[in-house]
């Protein structure tokens, strides 16, 4: 047992260097500003003040949360039935379906998002098809629709895989027991399958919501320069404005929001647990 513990040390070092140090740096930057010639930096809360006193940034934050929420909900609506169908199919079919879900993720996300630009733009595939069929061009690119589409497209595999893995783990004999006790298919699904798959849904939500709320290249490519989400503000502060302190402060605010939302989902998960009463 002791030996096993020792094997975790390299991992601890890894965590310290790759996660803790950058987090500390962000923390440092967020609470300081560049000083004058006497002190190199000084502690302050003004980076946070800058964010909260301005309705523009609050609006951007709200929009980011809304987009991420919409993305997550759509991912559940698409991902759950897909995962259910996959878990119902037999071994070989299941393997192929899982392969099809994961295959797009073998290609770089940025490249796949660029492909959507080509499909959606004013002289892209869809619009050219519309014109050929005698319709008017419609504006698809640089809209909320395009951004949400891009996010759902990029993140839905995570949702499907999470839900699928919890559905696949489920003991099929529980369903037989349910039908022995007189439950019909719908009842069995609602009372047995659904509660048992909730942990998968919850971890799917975490895996979709978090990247969606902080994504910056999807809104940049599909929303255009005028579509500013919180990730874009952070990117702008680091790359263009050169205000790393303000950028770090926003990152920290996002971290807090994400921690809170993870806490809430955990709570919901626990709550379902005690209600469901199944032993896992």
């Amino acid at each position: 047992m002791k030996n096993f513990k020792r094997m975790a040390y390299p991992y601890m070092v890894w965590i310290a260097i790759m996660i803790l140090v950058p987090m500390l740096l962000i923390f440092m930057y967020a609470f300081t500003v560049k000083g004058n010639s006497v002190t190199t930096f000084r502690f302050t809360l003004e980076n946070f003040g800058m964010f909260f006193k301005d309705t523009v940034f609050i609006d951007v934050l709200k929009r980011s949360l809304f987009i991420a929420l919409a993305t997550t909900i759509i991912c559940i609506l698409i991902g759950y039935p897909a995962a259910y169908i996959i878990s119902q199919s037999n071994g070989r079919q299941e393997f192929i379906l899982i392969l099809l879900v994961t295959m797009p993720t073998w290609i770089n996300m940025l490249v796949r998002t660029y492909a959507w630009v080509g499909i959606l733009q004013d002289n892209g595939i869809i619009n050219n098809l519309l014109v050929m069929l005698g319709f008017e061009r419609i504006k698809l690119l640089h809209t909320s629709f395009a951004v949400i589409l891009g996010m759902v497209y990029n993140f839905v595999p995570f949702m499907i895989l999470q839900i699928h893995s919890s559905l696949a783990k489920m003991d099929k004999s529980l369903l037989e027991a349910a039908s022995d006790l007189g439950a019909n298919k719908v009842q069995a699904f609602l009372r047995v399958t659904l509660p048992l798959s909730l942990p998968g849904v919850i971890s799917g939500i975490t895996l979709v919501f978090l990247p969606a709320v902080s994504s910056f290249f999807i809104p940049k490519l599909l929303g255009g320069g005028q579509y500013v989400l919180i990730g874009n503000v952070i990117e702008n502060q680091f790359l263009t404005a050169g205000n790393w302190n303000f950028g770090s402060a926003i990152s920290l605010i996002m971290t807090v929001i994400i921690l809170i939302s993870m806490y809430i989902t955990k709570k919901v998960d626990k709550g379902e647990d005690s209600k469901g009463g199944f032993v896992r």
Binding site: N123, G242, N243
Partner: protein, 342 residues
């Protein structure tokens, strides 16, 4: 016409240990520039690309080593002020005698102590000649961008510098103003544009989109405009009387360069006739080489009659950007607010 296509391949004849690390704009070099230089100087060139001065600055600041950079005027001023560049040995760059008049004695570095111009140009409006008349443009100037007749029909270049330049010029101020009040008026001007005109903020995609005639108005750099005009006859180029930004991108050697000797040779090479011609023909930006510039815009030149190729040098209202740290931070903070304002 060959303007702007695939970037030249890097890591070619990698047998030489005489290595030059070049950090340049994307799609900013002639087809054979790197290849020919490598052959003639028995060198290997490693090229990296940036798409904004700020991105380049962040990387160089973080300690990445390059031998030649090609930043814009105001960024060179900033790098100079921070002692990040080495003084050039002009004896190793005899081709400096080839410089065009428009890029001689530039304010930020009048004696070419640190920098040698690469391309130069202005910022203007590309417009659809079938929809918008020259009279209308002359009458409205930059304010045509706020003419609600064309709402939803325009591209704005996604850059705080150029956008604030336009707003300040439209209001009759200097684009290098340090007055808070004037900057705030410009901010309001841009917010109003954002909220009434439904503009699309774009960068390089504006080039293809205007060639395809997707919209009727666009703010474009003159070199990109020259390309658009050469590909789409319906498009014209207009520079408002109120003035615009006259910019230049120039080659510099950063202080931490590992091969300054080869860097000097490269700068000298770029300024000679053939590479300059190749560059300008391929990228469509105005050459810093006098002979090439004149030949291309003359009667038998490939840019004859193209209103966007030759930068305007005779308007008093045109200005060159000056770097100012406070204003720089202010503008970039305001710009993200403009874009997020609706």
């Amino acid at each position: 016409m060959l303007c702007g296509c695939n970037p030249p391949p890097f890591f070619r004849n990698s047998n030489s240990d005489n290595v030059l690390k070049l950090y340049n704009w994307g799609e900013y070099m002639g087809e054979y520039l790197i290849e020919d230089f490598e052959d003639q100087y028995d060198a290997m060139v490693i090229v990296e690309y940036f798409d904004s001065n700020e991105m380049m600055y962040t990387k160089v600041q973080a300690g990445d080593k390059y031998d030649v950079l090609v930043p814009s005027d105001y960024m060179i001023q900033r790098l100079m002020a921070e002692n990040s560049l080495i003084e050039l040995d002009l004896e190793k760059i005899p081709n400096i005698a080839n410089l065009a008049d428009g890029v001689k004695n530039l304010d930020y570095d009048p004696e070419n102590t640190y920098s040698v111009p690469y391309f130069w140009g202005t910022v203007g409006i590309v417009y659809n000649k079938n929809v918008i008349s020259k009279e209308e443009l002359n009458e409205e100037g930059w304010n045509i961008l706020k003419d609600t007749k064309y709402a939803g029909d325009l591209y704005i270049y996604d850059s705080e510098r150029d956008s604030f330049m336009i707003a300040l010029k439209a209001l009759g101020y200097s684009m290098n103003t340090e007055s808070e009040e004037e900057i705030h008026e410009a901010y309001d001007w841009l917010v109003e544009l954002n909220n009434t005109m439904d503009p699309a903020y774009v960068t390089d995609e504006v080039i293809d989109n205007m060639i395809n005639g997707l919209k009727d108005l666009a703010v474009v750099y003159s070199g990109d405009a020259a390309y658009i005009l050469s590909e789409n006859e319906d498009m014209g180029f207009f520079m408002p009387e109120e003035g615009t930004n006259r910019w230049s991108d120039a080659m510099v050697i950063p202080a931490n360069a590992e091969n300054p000797e080869l860097a000097h040779q490269f700068i000298n090479y770029v300024l000679s006739y053939e590479p300059s011609y190749d560059n300008s023909e391929y990228v469509c930006y105005a050459s810093s080489n006098k002979e090439v510039l004149e030949e291309m815009s003359s009667e038998n030149g490939i840019f004859y009659g193209n209103e966007a190729y030759l930068p305007r040098t005779d308007n008093e209202n045109d200005e060159i950007f000056k770097d100012n740290a406070t204003i720089r931070a202010k503008l970039s903070e305001l710009w993200i607010k403009v874009k997020a304002s609706n």
